[in-house]
C-alpha cells in the first residue's frame, strides 16, 4: 500500500482509553441482553425461537464456534450489505458475518473521531465497534466486503481499511440493464478472486452449486414463513421474523435451514390450534425504510407493544435478505456468476439505486397481498436516500389510501417516549378507521 499508516485515525493505539473499550463492551452486552429478554417476554412465542436468540447473542454460541473456526486457520469475512453474495463467501471456504451494527454505545467513539454528527448512526456504530473493538466477533474478521451503496457505507468501507483489508465493490447505482449488469458481474468475479486469495482455496463449481442450492432452500423456507405471516392472525411476530432472517447472516446455512424447518412446523401447528402472536385485532403494520439491525429493535418493539403487529417489512435487514433465489440456466462458470450477480442486483430495491420505481410498485403489491392497514416508514437520522424516497412513497400510498407515518430515529433511547406517542396515535387511527374502511383484502387471505 502506498499510503502507509492510518488515514483517519492519527493515533491508532491509545486514542481511546482502555476503559472506554470496557465500557462499550459492557453497555453493548447489556443492551443486547435487555432487548433479548424483551423479545422473550412476547406472548405465545414459539419455543423454537430460542435457537435464533442464541445465534445472535452477544458473545453467544455462534461466536464461540466462529472463534474455534478462526483459531484453526479459517477465514471470516464481514459483509456490509445485502448485496454481497454469501454463497460465494461460503463456497470459498470462508464464513460470513454481517458487520452492520445495531448497538448504540459504539456510536460515541465514532462521533468523537469523525466529527460528522449528522452521519447515519448505523454507519457510525459499525465503525465504532471496530475502532474500540467493542465486540470480540468483530476482531475475528479477516476481510470486509463492502459495496459502495450509500455515501455512508462507501466511506465506512474506506475508513475500515485502516483496520482490516476491505474489498470495495463498485455497485452501479444507475440501474440501466446490460452495462450495469456487466460491471456488477465483474465486481462479483473480483470478490471471488479476493476470497480465493484469502482462503487459498479456489471456488469450485461443485461447492458453489452446493452453496447455491442451500441458500435457495433457505429462500423457500423464508417464503413459507412469509406465507404464514399473511394469515389473518400471524403466528409469528414481526420482531421474531426479523430475528430469524437476520440470524441467517451469521449462522451456518445448513443448520439454519434445519432449525427454520422446525420452526415452521411449530408455527403450522400453532396455526391449526389457533394460537397467534400479538394482540387480538392488532393493526396490521408494514415496516419500511432504513435497516433495523438486531439489537436495534426499538421501533418494532414500540409498534408491537402498542397494539400493532408487523405483518411484513420491506427492509434490507428483513424480507429482502431472502426474497429471491439464484436460478442458473447454463452450466459454465461465467453463467453461474452472472446469475449470482443479477440476483443480488436487479431485484434489489435499495434506495441507492436510480431509477427505483420498482420499490413503490412492490410496496403497493405487498400491501395488497398482506392486507396491510398502515405503513411505518422509519429512517435513521442522516439517511437521505430513504428520507427522500419516503416522500415519494407517501404520495403513492395516498393514492391507494393507506396511511403512513414517518419516524426518524437515532441510535439512543432518548426518543422512545416521543416515538411511542406517535405510534400509539397511529395505531388508534388505524383501528378507528376500520369502522368505515374495512380493508377488503383481508378477507381472501387464508
Amino acid at each position: 500500500m502506498e499510503n502507509e499508516g492510518p488515514r483517519y485515525l492519527k493515533d491508532r493505539k491509545g486514542y481511546f482509553p482502555k476503559d472506554q473499550r470496557q465500557r462499550t463492551r459492557k453497555r453493548s452486552r447489556e443492551m443486547e441482553a435487555s432487548v433479548s429478554s424483551d423479545l422473550k417476554k412476547q406472548r405465545n412465542r414459539p419455543g423454537k425461537m430460542a435457537y435464533f436468540d442464541e445465534v445472535l447473542k452477544y458473545g453467544g454460541m455462534r461466536f464461540e464456534e466462529l472463534r474455534e473456526f478462526h483459531k484453526k486457520g479459517g477465514k471470516i469475512v464481514g459483509t456490509l450489505c445485502v448485496m454481497v453474495p454469501l454463497e460465494l463467501v461460503n463456497a470459498a471456504g470462508a464464513r460470513s458475518v454481517r458487520m452492520c451494527s445495531g448497538y448504540y454505545e459504539p456510536v460515541h467513539p465514532a462521533n468523537e473521531l469523525l466529527g460528522d454528527a449528522g452521519l447515519c448512526p448505523m454507519v457510525k456504530s459499525t465503525l465504532g465497534r471496530k475502532m474500540v473493538s467493542s465486540d470480540p466477533l468483530i476482531d475475528l474478521i479477516d476481510l470486509v466486503a463492502g459495496p459502495a451503496t450509500c455515501d455512508g457505507k462507501m466511506k465506512l468501507a474506506e475508513i475500515l481499511e485502516d483496520w482490516v483489508p476491505v474489498v470495495m465493490m463498485n455497485i452501479p447505482r444507475v440501474k440501466v440493464g446490460e452495462t450495469s449488469s456487466d460491471l456488477w458481474v465483474k465486481e462479483i468475479v473480483h470478490l471471488k478472486d479476493r476470497l480465493e486469495e484469502l482462503t487459498g482455496h479456489p471456488v469450485r463449481k461443485k461447492a458453489l452449486k452446493e452453496e447455491l442450492s442451500q441458500w435457495n432452500e433457505a429462500n423457500q423456507y423464508w417464503s413459507e414463513i412469509q406465507k404464514l405471516r399473511r394469515s389473518e392472525r400471524p403466528p409469528i411476530s414481526g420482531r421474531d421474523a426479523m430475528l430469524v432472517v437476520q440470524a441467517s447472516q451469521f449462522d451456518d446455512i445448513r443448520r439454519w435451514n434445519r432449525k427454520v424447518k422446525e420452526l415452521i412446523e411449530e408455527l403450522q401447528r400453532m396455526r391449526t390450534k389457533g394460537i397467534f402472536a400479538g394482540e387480538e385485532g392488532a393493526a396490521r403494520i408494514l415496516l419500511a425504510g432504513s435497516p433495523m439491525i438486531y439489537p436495534n429493535f426499538k421501533i418494532p418493539s414500540i409498534i408491537e407493544g402498542s397494539g400493532g403487529t408487523i405483518v411484513t417489512d420491506e427492509l434490507c435487514s428483513g424480507y429482502r435478505l431472502m426474497s429471491d433465489p439464484v436460478l442458473v440456466d447454463g452450466l459454465s462458470k461465467k453463467e453461474i456468476y452472472q446469475a449470482i450477480a443479477e440476483r443480488y442486483f436487479f431485484p434489489c430495491s435499495c434506495p441507492c439505486f436510480s431509477p427505483n420505481d420498482e420499490r413503490v410498485r412492490r410496496l403497493k403489491e405487498v400491501i395488497k397481498a398482506f392486507g396491510i392497514e398502515g405503513v411505518v416508514f422509519h429512517t435513521l437520522r442522516g439517511c437521505h436516500l430513504n428520507n427522500l424516497e419516503a416522500t415519494k412513497i407517501e404520495l403513492a400510498l395516498r393514492e391507494i389510501s393507506v396511511p403512513m407515518v414517518r419516524i426518524e430515529s437515532e441510535y439512543d433511547e432518548g426518543d422512545i417516549e416521543q416515538v411511542r406517542t406517535r405510534i400509539e396515535a397511529f395505531v388508534e387511527m388505524i383501528k378507528a378507521r376500520r369502522e368505515y374502511h374495512r380493508n377488503p383484502i383481508l378477507e381472501d387471505v387464508q
Binding site: 452449486k209 442450492s213 445448513r254 433465489p325 439464484v326
Partner: protein, 330 residues
C-alpha cells in the same frame, strides 16, 4: 441441486412435440410413408421451414410457394399466392409461434447446437442491445427483398422465360435448409449427384452452424418466417402473459431467454409480452421464480404458469446431511 436448475416442466414435452413434427415433415426422407397425397393437402403450406427441396415433400414452407407463385407469373396468382397466404394466415392464427419453438426443425437444430455448446462449457456469446434491434429488422428486410426481387422476375416471366429460371426463388438460394437437404438426400441416395451442389446454400448452412453454435438461436433472429409470425403475433391464439404486479424485476427471464427477448423483462404495462423475438419456447415461464407471474396462454386458457422453485417435497429429510460445520470449507 435440483431446484437450482429447476424441474424443467416444459422442455421435455416440447422436445417430444419437436420430434413428432420432424417425423411429420421429413419422415419420407427416411422411408416413412408420406403424409397425404391428395392435391388439396398439397395446397397447404406451413408457416415455417419444412423444406421444398425434399423429394416428395408432402407440403412445404410457404415461403417457397410465395417466391414460386410470384416468379411464375400471374396466371395462377389467386391459387398460388392469395389462397396460400390465407391458409398460412389461418395456421399462424391458430398456432402462432408454436410453429417456431415447438415444430420448426431449424429451431430444433439450433437448440441442439446450444446444448452442445453448453455441454462443452462455453458460455453463449451475447449480442449487444443495438445489434439485437438491428437484426430484428434484418428479417423484415429479407422479407421485403424477397418480394421485391420476385415480383419483377414474375413480370419478366410473362415475357422472357430465361431470367426466371436463373434468378428464381431468391431466398431459397441462401436458405441453409436447401443446402442441408440437397446434400443429405444425395448422401442418402435419394437424389442423383448430377443435380449439382447448391454452393451458396451450403455456405450459408456452414455459417448457420458455426454462428448458431456461439450465438443462441442465431438464425431465428433473422428468420423472415418468424418475422411474419411476429407481425401477426397479436392476432394469434398462443401468447405469453405477464402479470406485472407479481414481477420483481429479477431479470431471470431475460437472462435465460435464448433470443434475449427483452419485452418479457421490461414491459410492465402490456399483458402480452411475446411477439418480436419471442419464439414461445417457454423457458422464461419455467424459470421465473414468482408464482403466476408469467403464463403461456392459448387464447383465454392458461397452459402453464411460472411458480416458486420447490423441491420434490419441500420437507425432504435433512437429517442425512453431516454436522453443521462438517462439509464446508474444503
Amino acid at each position: 441441486m435440483k431446484e437450482l436448475f429447476r424441474g424443467r416442466n416444459i422442455r421435455p414435452f416440447r422436445f417430444i412435440v419437436q420430434l413428432l413434427g420432424l417425423g411429420f415433415m421429413f419422415g419420407q426422407m427416411l422411408g416413412l410413408p408420406p403424409f397425404g397425397t391428395h392435391p388439396m393437402l398439397r395446397r397447404i403450406f406451413l408457416p415455417n421451414a419444412s423444406c421444398r427441396y425434399i423429394n416428395e415433400a408432402p407440403t412445404s414452407c410457404y415461403y417457397y410457394q410465395l417466391q414460386d407463385g410470384l416468379t411464375q407469373g400471374y396466371t395462377d396468382v389467386y391459387i398460388d399466392v392469395i389462397l396460400m397466404l390465407l391458409i398460412v394466415l389461418m395456421l399462424i392464427i391458430a398456432l402462432g409461434r408454436i410453429w417456431c419453438s415447438w415444430l420448426c426443425p431449424f429451431g430444433l437444430v439450433q437448440e441442439g447446437l446450444m446444448k452442445l455448446r453448453g455441454s462443452v462449457g462455453i458460455p453463449p456469446l451475447k449480442l449487444k442491445w443495438r445489434t439485437r434491434t438491428l437484426l430484428r429488422r434484418v428479417k423484415y428486410a429479407f422479407l421485403f427483398f424477397t418480394v421485391l426481387l420476385s415480383v419483377p422476375i414474375g413480370i419478366g416471366a410473362l415475357g422472357i422465360g430465361g431470367c426466371q429460371s436463373t434468378l428464381a426463388l431468391p431466398f431459397c438460394q441462401v436458405c441453409p435448409a436447401k443446402g442441408f437437404f440437397t446434400v443429405a438426400q444425395q448422401l442418402l441416395g435419394l437424389e442423383p449427384w448430377s443435380t449439382g451442389l447448391p454452393w451458396i446454400a451450403l455456405c450459408s448452412l456452414l455459417v448457420f452452424l458455426i454462428v448458431g453454435f456461439f450465438i443462441d438461436m442465431a438464425f431465428c433472429r433473422v428468420c423472415p418466417m418468424g418475422g411474419v409470425m411476429a407481425l401477426l403475433g397479436r392476432f394469434s391464439l398462443p401468447w405469453l402473459r405477464k402479470d406485472p404486479s407479481k414481477c420483481t424485476k429479477c431479470r431471470i427471464c431475460l437472462r435465460v431467454c435464448p433470443l434475449d427477448h427483452d419485452r418479457v423483462y421490461e414491459d410492465m404495462d402490456a399483458d402480452d409480452v411475446g411477439s418480436e423475438d419471442c419464439t414461445l419456447c417457454g423457458k422464461c415461464v419455467e424459470m421465473c421464480p414468482e408464482e403466476g407471474c408469467l403464463t403461456m396462454m392459448y387464447g383465454p386458457f392458461s397452459v402453464k404458469s411460472s411458480r416458486r422453485p420447490r423441491k420434490m417435497g419441500l420437507w425432504r429429510s435433512l437429517g442425512k446431511k453431516k454436522g453443521p460445520e462438517a462439509n464446508n470449507g474444503k
